[in-house]
Point group: C2
Chain length 303, copies 2
Amino acid sequence: MKVVYRPGGMRQALQMELWFTENLEIAADMRLQLRVERTLHSETSEYQKIDVLQTASCGRMLVLDDVIMTTEFDEFAYHEMIAHVPAFAHAGPRTALVIGGGDGGTVRELCKHANLEEIHLCEIDRRVVEVSKEHLPSIAASFDDPRVKCFYEDGAAWAKDHPESYDLILVDSSDPVGPAAVLFGEPFYEDCYASLRDGGILATQAENLFMHREIIERLLQYGEKFFQRRFYYNTRVPTYPGGMIGFTFFAKGQNAPDPFINLEKRYQESELKAQDFRFWNPATHKAAFALPAFASELEKYLA
Amino acid sequence: MKVVYRPGGMRQALQMELWFTENLEIAADMRLQLRVERTLHSETSEYQKIDVLQTASCGRMLVLDDVIMTTEFDEFAYHEMIAHVPAFAHAGPRTALVIGGGDGGTVRELCKHANLEEIHLCEIDRRVVEVSKEHLPSIAASFDDPRVKCFYEDGAAWAKDHPESYDLILVDSSDPVGPAAVLFGEPFYEDCYASLRDGGILATQAENLFMHREIIERLLQYGEKFFQRRFYYNTRVPTYPGGMIGFTFFAKGQNAPDPFINLEKRYQESELKAQDFRFWNPATHKAAFALPAFASELEKYLA
């Protein structure tokens, strides 16, 4: 409690200020602070520290190991873009695997696609799912969909053990430190390739073009090694470092889909409407693939 | 200096940690912190506090009234997009006015366009220009170009006093608090309209779609009142609130240009090359106009 002594001897109690300060290994000299009203939940699971905070302006926020995972304010810009860009790029996905994504936002978006018959979530930390169901119900909104099955296992091992199984694999991971580090390694990309059906698409959380070019370049090199078609796209998330986050988009097979062909047609056939989305639309879908001039060196990996 | 007392009685001096914390009236519950090595300059001018800090990872940074104006790390993503989008959209601009923009980055980008014959900078605070010349030479790089003339006057009054004078007016302002507040008012937009030649384009700094929808909507209403063609576009600047910043793009006259027609042709005719840009290219130019689904309500002002 901050107390201000005013000249006349008056003592005035001000409201306590609580600020969450992000502590990012992958951007150690830049920290976002968000004003917080109170802590809704705090625990240390088998894998990580899990906090849910009520922020002043960004709604509820999920924090893992002091890093912002998602906020009610801007989660849609991430979850819609990791899910709908590959889902609309594929000619007709029937099975999808989400690795990580325990908050449920990516699964919620996939559930909007009527052609999907099975949606598997493989999240190593069961507590993230349980805490999200309790405290982030607008994000963890579709776990009751009968097409959704949750597996609390290691995502890398899961991909290795399920060859030729999925039309879409979405890697909704935290950064390459802590439990998600294995999801940024070459063997994982090889296993995801094997786990996709022909024509399948792998989309993975792939950091910020301004700040993490080395990480991105490494992931694109894995893509070049295993996948027939390779793209990189971005979305805008104010509470992520630098306000943007990118995704690899790797597709399997000689007739692997590209993200632009038949986009409007598939959107119409899906019978989804503009009001089903808060960020995604055909314009933001296409715009997401525009690389700034400074990143043109990455184009050599793309095809 | 932080001193840590270790169990064995050892006293270890750690390196002092300096963090700049942004204090934003227009996003009061969200603060960016940047690690700082040292202060290069600090003064209070007639209009505002002016600081130049050496950051740990973002190069040198200009701060006005505790708000980040520009950093060497990402300034190009702002200056290129405020300048080149209108400059390439216009069929052949000969005269340009920059209001604000005392750091010189917008002028530097305009100077790349050989068809521009006169580039006027109207910056109310002469000290911003002088400090930038001394401490940010890579940004304040083109003040010696013979086409550039600086006027240290009120930008709103300047526009009012110079009817039918400019093909491009770029408002490179701070936020609508402090000295720049007048640049977010309706009379200023009316005066800019009058100050443009037929076919001219006004582009103004217009905040963040996620966070400042009310401000943006108000500016688009001014646009609708005075201008024949109206667009809104965005760029990505990691050190700005939410990592993005938008611009209005208002054009004058029944044959006012739209930002897409003949883009590649004009780029080729300009004889500018890919290596002249770090952010702008035809792909990012076009992508910048994609509005997320949540902002579709703004489309009613656009035409």
